[in-house]
Amino acid sequence: MKNNIVYKYSLKLRWPATCRNRSVEILKERPDLIDTMNNFRSKIDNILKIVCRKSFQVDGAHSMTGVRLWFQSGQDAYEFIIRQPEFDWEIVPEISVINNITSQLQTYNIVYTPTGVVID
């Protein structure tokens, strides 16, 4: 039987400022924005290859706010969050986790403190 990977943790990374909150009509007229978004996606993919020890996935579905990322391991998700300043991008301060028992996606707030990251 195929061993399916479960992506338990999910984060959303905001698009570069110029690409946020753009309607489909605008995107159709602005290929430069599409290029920026595609480059952004490939940059994320390359960085995830460096950061993650286990499997990850960049969600293909379009969202106006950003790109959804899925992590198999919580340790990888944490590493990605704390290395945010290094790559100079902005994570939506929320983490979604799939509960192994209920299979529900539970969302928690990420709170940045001077000493690290806490979940509220």
Binding site: K8, Y9, Q72, S73, G74, Q75, A77, Y78, I95, V97, N99, N100, I101, T102, Q106, Y108, V118, I119, D120
Partner: protein, 179 residues
């Protein structure tokens, strides 16, 4: 195949090869009381015990469940999950954060909707624990609760229509039959 059985290992030491019980279905451990077998699930509600479990090899493959307040502090550990909201907790006067881990394991076993729940090393010497066990048994008439102990058998559950008591020998016989 989905198993109809589930085994809850309480807070007392168990002189039984728990890997045998796995042949019947999943096993739930209560906190870090027993480290002799890889549990499918384990419940814990104190930070110190949770830290110990996260750092113990035998619990690396176990799905550890903990109340949400504690879960948030250790969310980035893959084997950890938040306990679900068990129905009727208020009527049982049970708080996930304050009750014993064996009560949490029992609630989890009920939540997983198996037909027969085996209770091994389950401490009923404490009147609160016994009352809670009886309340949960009464609230779940479709589930059979089988308390396993060494002879002489206890009569504490005899007044329960779906509560039974048997010995480890009979439990082993059942495992051998089900193989």
């Amino acid at each position: 195949m989905k198993s109809a059985y589930i085994t809850v290992v309480g807070s007392m030491p168990v002189k039984f090869d728990l890997s045998q019980a796995r042949k019947l279905g999943p096993i739930i451990g209560s906190s870090n009381n027993n480290k002799s077998v890889i549990f499918d699930f384990a419940t814990v509600n104190t930070e110190l015990n949770l830290q110990d479990m996260l750092n113990t090899e035998v619990f690396q493959q176990t799905n550890i469940l903990t109340p949400e307040n504690l879960y948030k502090k250790y969310l980035f550990f893959d084997q950890l999950s938040a306990l679900p909201n068990f129905p009727g907790l208020k009527s049982f006067d049970i708080e996930q954060e304050k009750c014993s881990p064996q009560t949490l394991s029992l609630l989890l076993s009920v939540y997983l909707q198996k037909k027969v729940i085996f209770l091994l090393g389950y401490d009923i010497s404490n009147p609160t624990e016994l009352t809670r066990l009886k309340s949960i048994i009464l609230a779940n008439p479709d589930i059979k609760f089988m308390y396993i102990c060494n002879p002489p058998r206890t009569y504490q559950l005899d007044d329960m229509p779906n509560g039974y008591c048997d010995t480890y020998i009979k439990f082993q016989e059942l495992i051998d039959r089900e193989k």
